[in-house]
Symmetry: C2
Subunit: 475 residues, 2 copies
């Protein structure tokens, strides 16, 4: 244990020195032997430390010379600018584009980089199967009967217990389970709004939210959004007189991966409460932080039940189980009624399996591993984009989550890029999906929750070459 | 097998002679010995035949005298009249009543006769558990990933194959899976209507349909409905100019258990198609016929994709699995989009388990047993109501399904009856839930899908006594 502790301490300290710029590009690291002597660790531990830093693309060995600090591509490529949606009118994403994208969902012959969904290889499949078998035993009558609309109590209890982790203090009775996070958002939107109402969202924004909002007859107001800190407070303040409610993904939203600072969260919650404007908080990526600590949720600052906090296990454990939940605050009765009316109840057995998985501690073990993979993948992706994409490419610096957002030269049309790549068996998400405004046509979202392989590197190389080609220029 | 064949043939023939009135109340049946000699069967087979008829309450033994035809209560009590809703205005069911009823759903301490849901004891729990384990193996990646919005292909294939059984000719591609039948109805209603539209339904009508329709902003027009043959054609014809779409449960609707004759189905489908009025057909009880043959569906007469056929396994196999489906005809694209927007996809593993269960033949075996139990229960319930309820009580003659509808003296208030019974640990459904009009306050729905026991008989006796009491009279 002491060895493990030292290992992490040294690795973290070296990582920090590199990321902070104390150790600069091309600097030589101490030799393995020096590291052993300095810290009283074994040669094997020293090697593991260097291997981990190498996996993060932070250092690279040179033959006969030891390890050197690599170029740090995430720092090299500039950030996309803060978005400035003009909100002149909502222009729906072409149906054709959406059907193309969603049709690729089930295709085994594609390399799927288009969805904010984890590859099955990164999920604990075997353990979950066992948990499902176990659930048929722990669940009353094997889950064959209708359960109460509020949903499986074991799952609600586990989610409530875990709320401490993000500054919350939920009780199991505050929660209603849903069929994934999307149903939670759907009930929240239906509980709050009627046709003609205006909903404020981030920009760029998850397309599922835009689609649902438009189909419910809402007007969508896209807020200026910073790639690191999320929506701009000033933009929200100006929007207040025009909006009926808000839907934000404060923690590692897709596509940007931004994370709203605590102070922003607090200010937004207080501002909205003051104006009686409800906030739907989608926290589906909250557990997928790259840093040391899980960020707080807006819900943790909510004193008046004005925040409808939604989440699920679809982004980090088992999308196909359709297990999600909502803490609807003062809108609980409306949400319960909507659930009863639209679906009566949720599937019992998958909720019970997830509840057991959470309770057993296997979830935390899995998350630790999964987060590490995601963070490493982010560095791989960012490094490869820096290596292969042309001058002027901008790239997000996600602090968590499943996706990377790339801004190409303004003359590039990522719809064209999408079509060409699809013919070659690669599915990516064009920027136009993430807005109802005339923007992001030259942007691209990539899912980083896939095993990092030479094949993925080759794909990024291919995309980098392709975006230089006249075939992808705007008409 | 020859023995089994003879057994069923003789039992059915005797049942028919009694029900048709050829053998009359009090008539003596042949002795066991005579039955054996007449039909060349064993004494054991003859005994089994008499026991089965006794279980149906059709015959009863008298000491030292053999078996005699019992009173046939189902014939004795009159039918409720054809409903005549005035449709002056929609008057919503009190929220309090609905919350009371739904709150009883999860209570283990109650005798639940209030829901149209099968008791777990009547469902193949052990077999389904095994099927769930098996599904984790047959399903690609154990069902951990998002599946396509259209849903599990094995389930769609099995439902399509079985459509022959009700005169249909569905292809797997015609179907979209849903989270139970209610989600199918919800997508259908949202695909067809907008706030202010008028939907025509049966009267009395399943409360879930009324609740959902009102919450979506629809006006509800309740159609005159015959307790045996369903909605009256004349009433529908007169309603045509005023309605935007229809939702019917043509086969064994709840609460009445009526079954629309084929000729009616055909005429309705043609009439609605002529006026371009879509029909949502809820066939969730279609497999639960008491007769010899599964009735046809309206969908089987649908040439223009005007019928949205919905069903599930919630009424006959596993409510808690939330497995349903819809064949939306010409509205398929709209339904697919709604599903994608509101829930993205369904739970994979339960769909696969149900698909395997259907394919294995275990479903048909279970259904045969379950239908027999339901039919026997219907006769038990009807007999007990005739025995214990006061003069003037009317009772439905369901031809299938899970429920019995009882019309009491017009001075009785079944809301009061409900409250008194709930205090005594018995949950029933007051008639007022089944309409948005001022009607059915003296009616009552009972679920017959519970094991028939002396305790249930005692409950019916208790209700029969209670409805004579001044405590349940209208204020």
């Amino acid at each position: 244990m002491a060895g493990e502790y030292l290992y992490h301490k040294i690795a973290n300290s070296l990582e920090h020195q590199i990321r902070s710029g104390l150790l600069k590009e091309g600097d030589k690291l101490p030799s393995l032997r020096t590291l052993c002597q300095q810290h009283q660790i074994s040669m094997n531990t020293a090697k593991r430390i260097f291997l981990e830093l190498e996996a993060l693309s932070l250092i690279a060995p040179r033959p006969q010379s030891g390890y050197f600090v690599s170029t740090l591509p995430a720092r090299q490529l500039p950030l996309p600018a803060v978005s400035r949606p003009d909100n002149i009118a909502n222009v729906r994403t072409p149906d054709l584009l959406l059907s193309k994208i969603y049709a690729s969902m089930g295709r085994e012959d594609l390399t799927l980089l288009s969805f904010a969904a984890p590859a099955a290889e990164l999920l604990p499949m075997a353990k979950l199967k066992k948990e499902l078998l176990h659930a048929t035993k722990t669940l009353h009558q094997g889950g064959i009967k209708y359960e109460l609309a509020q949903g499986n109590v074991n799952l609600r209890r586990m989610v409530a217990i875990r709320s401490i982790g993000w500054g919350g203090s939920l009780h199991e009775d505050d929660l209603v389970t849903t069929s994934g996070g999307m149903e939670a958002l759907s009930f929240a939107m239906m509980a709050l709004g009627k046709a003609g109402d205006t909903i404020a969202v981030e920009s760029p924004c998850y397309p599922g939210i835009l689609e649902l909002a438009v189909s419910l007859g809402f007007k969508v107001l896209e807020l200026p959004t910073h790639p690191i800190t999320g929506i701009e407070l000033e933009g929200l303040k100006q929007a207040i007189p025009h909006i009926d409610f808000c839907l934000l993904i404060p923690n590692f939203n897709t596509p940007l991966g931004s994370c709203m600072p605590d102070a922003h969260k607090k200010e937004i919650v207080e501002l909205l409460a003051k104006h009686q404007i409800p906030l739907i908080e989608d926290d589906v990526y909250g557990d997928l932080y790259f840093g040391k600590q899980r960020p707080r949720c807006c819900k943790s600052f909510d004193k008046e039940g004005n925040v409808l906090w939604c989440s699920s296990v679809s982004k980090n454990l088992a999308p196909g189980y359709r297990v999600g939940w909502i803490a609807p605050g003062r809108f609980k009765e409306q949400v319960l009624k909507l659930k009863l009316r639209h679906v009566i109840a949720s599937t019992s057995i998958t909720q019970e399996a997830v509840a057991n998985f959470l309770r057993s501690g296997k979830y935390d073990t899995h998350l630790r591993e999964f987060r590490k993979t995601l963070e490493q993948n982010y560095h791989h992706f960012a490094r490869a984009v820096a290596d292969y994409f042309p001058e002027g490419t901008k790239v997000s610096r996600p602090q968590g989550g499943l996706t990377l957002w790339i801004e190409l030269h303004p003359t590039v049309d990522t719809l064209k890029l999408h079509d060409i790549l699809l013919e070659q068996g690669i599915s990516v998400a064009p920027g136009r999906m993430f807005t109802l405004q005339d923007q992001f046509e030259h942007c691209l979202r990539l899912c980083i929750a896939v095993p990092w392989t030479a094949a993925i590197e080759a794909i990024l190389k291919k995309i980098g070459a392709l975006v230089r080609s006249p075939r992808v220029l705007k008409s």
